[in-house]
Amino acid sequence: MAIIVNLDVMLAKRKMSLSELAEKVDITLSNLSILKTGKAKAMRFSTLEKICEVLECQPGDILEFRE
């Protein structure tokens, strides 16, 4: 069981780079990289809200539960 972060898929769909997203969301590139590579242990609602706002998507588009 794992929560999969599909940030790279959404970035590809929006044709946006990771650094561009980091700038728009106002979080560090290293933190965003932690999220993208699935190393993150937790995610703040505020971060999720900003990412959804910038990528114009729903939380479910970024996070996915797989058994």
Binding site: I27, N31, L32, I34, L35, K39, A40, K41, A42, M43, R44, T47
Partner: protein
């Protein structure tokens, strides 16, 4: 008082104390070897004996009356059941004495070395580290083992001594218990500290 200043002081103090203890242990070892080798073989008490303060119990000694200070706020009396016991270094009990003394000093050096490492590795901006938890657990074990050793020494030394001195019934003056309590407290701190490491890691990986 600033924590950084206290930490610097502790770093220096533990370092100095540790080296003083190492030098003192080395000195004691040299003196003991010299005593064992240099003493004449007929095993008579010389001027280089190990001195212990001991108490005699169960002898029904008469208690001395109290003497009072001028303001009557303090009273004192001589202890009738206290003995100064001298042991010849070149004997079985003498060998045992130096052996146990060196073990205790070695443990003291190990405790100070671990404290020195903890204080040198501590960074107040990033305090939680696995190496410090490990050292705290070693310290806890050292304190507990030292106290158990002290208890074992109490029984062994007394049984050794009672082979030579049957009356009065002498007992070594020792204080056990504090090491076990200190060890357990340090172990709890190490456990809490480890939880702190997990929280720090989680915080670092929270986006």
């Amino acid at each position: 008082m600033k924590p950084k200043f206290v930490l610097s002081f502790l770093r220096i103090a533990t370092n100095i104390l540790m080296w003083v203890l190492i030098v003192f242990t080395g000195f004691l070892l040299c003196v003991s070897i010299f005593n064992i080798v240099g003493n004449d073989k007929d095993r008579k008490l010389s001027g280089k004996n190990y001195v212990y303060e001991m108490t005699a119990f169960g002898e029904g000694q008469a208690e001395q009356p109290y003497l009072y200070a001028a303001d009557s706020l303090v009273r004192y009396r001589t202890m009738a059941n206290r003995y100064s016991v001298e042991i010849e270094p070149n004997s079985a009990i003498g060998y045992y004495t130096i052996f146990i003394k060196l073990i205790f000093m070695g443990m003291g050096i190990a405790v100070l070395w671990n404290f020195k490492k903890i204080f040198s590795e501590t960074n107040l901006d990033d305090p939680f580290k696995y190496s410090i938890t490990k050292r705290l657990k070693i310290l806890a074990a050292l304190f507990i083992v030292a106290d158990l050793l002290k208890l074992t020494d109490y029984f062994l030394f007394n049984s050794f001594l009672r082979q030579s001195v049957t009356t009065p019934h002498l007992g070594l003056i020792t204080n056990t218990g504090s090491g076990i309590i200190t060890g357990l407290i340090i172990w709890i701190i190490a456990t809490v500290y480890r939880k702190g490491i997990v929280l720090q890691e989680e915080n670092a990986l929270t986006v």
